[in-house]
């Protein structure tokens, strides 16, 4: 196994995982909601991009832009109508509700698109690569990594340097007191859901280009996103980004050893972090 090549591929795969994870991190960070349908939204986005590109004769890039906006709106609406009602009580409600959503999305997709696999075609760009010495690095994976980095930076800025981000952090700390400040928490949650789904749509695009996707791929993406967040440590997007990269490297090394062991290696690294350092590798220190 060419170690350098494997690790580089792993890091770039981590970029895609980071995009999976960012949306989940936003929603969990603000509302403490684990959206079990998160991975299914990634898949849903890709199917929507496919359909829009085909029916409106647009390039997948244009379709992606449309779906990002569409998803942001969908996120807001979903939050205000269904998810808000599930919050605030015990843990079971959000789990069952988002699980129900997951079932609906998966089966709806199967109904609409059958179980055949599809992919987003972007032509030559998909396989174009660039050479750094002896290593060939795909343009798309580099692009994904770059976008993921930009998203991480963007989210950190949003949360730490804007009033909206400050409101997010305050409400996530203490919802009742935030209300006393005049923060309209339900509206705020809507914005968080909109951001979460918008970012997730970006993940949809790159996933759709990289993989052939089927309606049932969602849950595995959720797991990767979740593992990235836990490995990296809760509370910071940089932590999530790093966790995703670690997961990507772990999986890629596992695959190189034996294809059946790729995903399992990632799970094992996750469990190891859980046992040894449950707060994650880079948790944000909150007193």
């Amino acid at each position: 196994m060419n170690w350098v090549d494997t690790i580089v591929q792993g890091i770039l795969l981590g970029g895609l995982f980071a995009l999976f994870a960012m949306g989940l991190a936003v929603i969990y960070g603000v509302m403490r909601l684990i959206n079990i349908a998160h991975g299914d939204f990634v898949v849903l986005g890709a199917y929507l991009m496919l359909s829009i590109a085909l029916t409106a004769h647009l390039s997948p890039f244009a379709a992606a832009a449309i779906v990002v906006v569409l998803f942001a709106v969908l996120g807001y609406v979903l939050q205000r109508t269904i998810l808000d009602r599930a919050l605030g009580g015990d843990l079971l409600a959000p789990l069952v509700v988002t699980y129900g959503l997951s079932v609906i999305i998966e089966n709806g997709l199967q109904q609409a698109y059958s179980a055949d696999s599809h992919s987003l075609q972007i032509g030559a760009l998909e396989t174009a690569s660039v050479h750094f010495g002896p290593i060939a690095v795909g343009i798309m994976p580099l692009l994904v990594f770059g976008v993921a980095l930009a998203v991480a930076v963007g989210l950190e800025l949003l949360f730490n340097a804007t009033p909206l981000g400050m409101a997010f952090r305050a409400t996530s700390d203490d919802r009742a007191t935030a209300r006393l400040m005049g923060v309209r928490d339900f509206q705020l949650y809507g914005y968080a859901a909109a951001i979460s789904l918008g970012v997730t749509a970006l993940a949809s695009f790159f996933m759709g280009v990289k993989y052939t996707f089927t309606p049932t791929l969602g849950p595995s993406f959720l797991l990767y996103a979740f593992e990235a967040i836990v490995i990296g440590g809760m509370g910071s997007f940089w932590g999530t980004f790093t966790g995703a990269v670690i997961l990507g490297v772990a999986q890629t090394i596992g695959f190189a050893i034996d294809p059946g062991w790729g995903i399992l290696t990632g799970h094992l690294v996750f469990l190891a972090v859980l046992v040894v350092r449950p707060q994650g590798l880079f948790p944000k220190v909150v007193a």
Binding site: V97, L101, L271
Partner: protein, 337 residues
């Protein structure tokens, strides 16, 4: 002041009588009915009901919401297969051993997942289930990704095997329903309910929350493994996806949550409903599943105590009374006690 404490209600006495009758009827079924398909259905029903009751014990009483119990269904199933196929163990002993081995594995599993709380615990259990699935799928001697059949049973006459499987299921049903009921009325059960109501208060009463939760996790997972063993004994074939697959989760959500979480009656109602709906609507494929998903959401948002909860609220019915009812017998004429 004198008082009496009673634990049964009118309804529960009736239910107990009806239950005894039902039990006799079902236990003797192979001799008065020739429908082997129905027997198979009953076995499946019992397995699912048991798994549902165990999940209810964990989530509804223990406050441990796990979406990874399929790990133990799978461990139970594969243990059975290995014992029967590779080690030639007598099948019904193998079922019991399947449960026991699952309980053994549940202990280290708990030590890992108990480091997480809440939603993180839930997904952590799921990851663990995935790990088991992938592990098993990678091991050739277990049949790999496509699984294997229970060839070790080929020597047993079909009719005998089917009846024996069925009666084992009836026995399991009694354990699942009655056993849970007794557990909840035991000190462990009360500790659980106390923890569910208020962890802090329970601890101040000397209840070791961690130990209690561990005990319940191991017990529930072990019995889940037992049900898994029986399930695959009846199915005659196992594969990693069937054993450890995610399909078990919506099943549990549906039977327990829609039936009524946190009650003994709820999962029974939920499992019944699930089977009725499945037999009636399964021809509709994905639309049926979409409807189930939507129904789960609706119940969770608008009737979180489930169908049995609705029944309880309107009729105050308790078929499995867990609480004690205190009747005050007399008060002095002057109003003193």
């Amino acid at each position: 002041m004198t008082y009496t404490v009673r634990r049964a209600t009118q309804a529960s006495k009736l239910a107990a009588a009806a239950g005894a009758l039902l039990l006799v009827a079902f236990a003797t079924l192979p001799w008065w009915s020739s429908s082997r398909d129905f027997m198979q259905l009953v076995v499946e029903f019992v397995c699912i009901l048991t798994i549902a009751q165990m999940w209810n014990l964990l989530a509804g009483y223990g406050g441990l919401i796990s979406i990874g119990q399929q790990a133990f269904i799978g461990i139970g199933g594969y243990t059975l297969v290995v014992l029967v196929n590779n080690l030639g163990v007598e099948p019904f002993l193998a079922v019991l051993l399947g449960g026991a081995f699952t309980a053994v594995l549940a202990l280290p599993t708990a030590l890992v997942v108990f480091r997480l709380r809440g939603a993180y615990f839930a997904i952590g259990t799921w990851v663990v289930a995935e790990v088991y699935r992938l592990f098993v799928a990678n091991l050739a001697f277990l049949g790999g990704g496509s699984g294997q059949s229970l060839i070790g049973l080929a020597a047993i006459p079909v009719d005998l095997r089917q009846i024996a499987t069925y009666e084992t299921a009836i026995a399991l049903a009694v354990v699942a329903i009655f056993g849970v009921f007794l557990l909840l009325r035991s000190p462990l059960g009360f500790a659980l309910t106390a923890i569910r109501d208020s962890e802090v208060a329970a601890e101040s009463q000397g209840i070791d929350v961690w130990r209690t939760r561990l005990a319940i996790y191991v017990i529930a997972s072990g019995v889940t493994g037992l049900a898994g063993s029986l399930y695959f004994l009846s199915a005659l074939r196992i594969s990693p996806d069937a054993a450890f697959g995610m399909n078990w989760i919506p099943l549990l959500f549906f039977t327990v949550v829609i039936g009524g979480i946190g009650t003994v009656e709820g999962p029974i109602l939920g499992t019944l409903l699930y089977f009725v709906l499945r037999q009636t609507f399964s021809g509709f494929g994905t639309w049926y599943l979409i409807a189930l998903g939507a129904l789960s959401i609706a119940i969770m948002l608008f009737a979180p105590t489930g169908l049995w909860g609705l029944v309880q609220r309107t009729t105050k019915l308790r078929l499995f009374p867990i609480q004690s009812i205190v009747n005050l017998n007399s008060v002095n004429p002057s109003g003193e006690l």
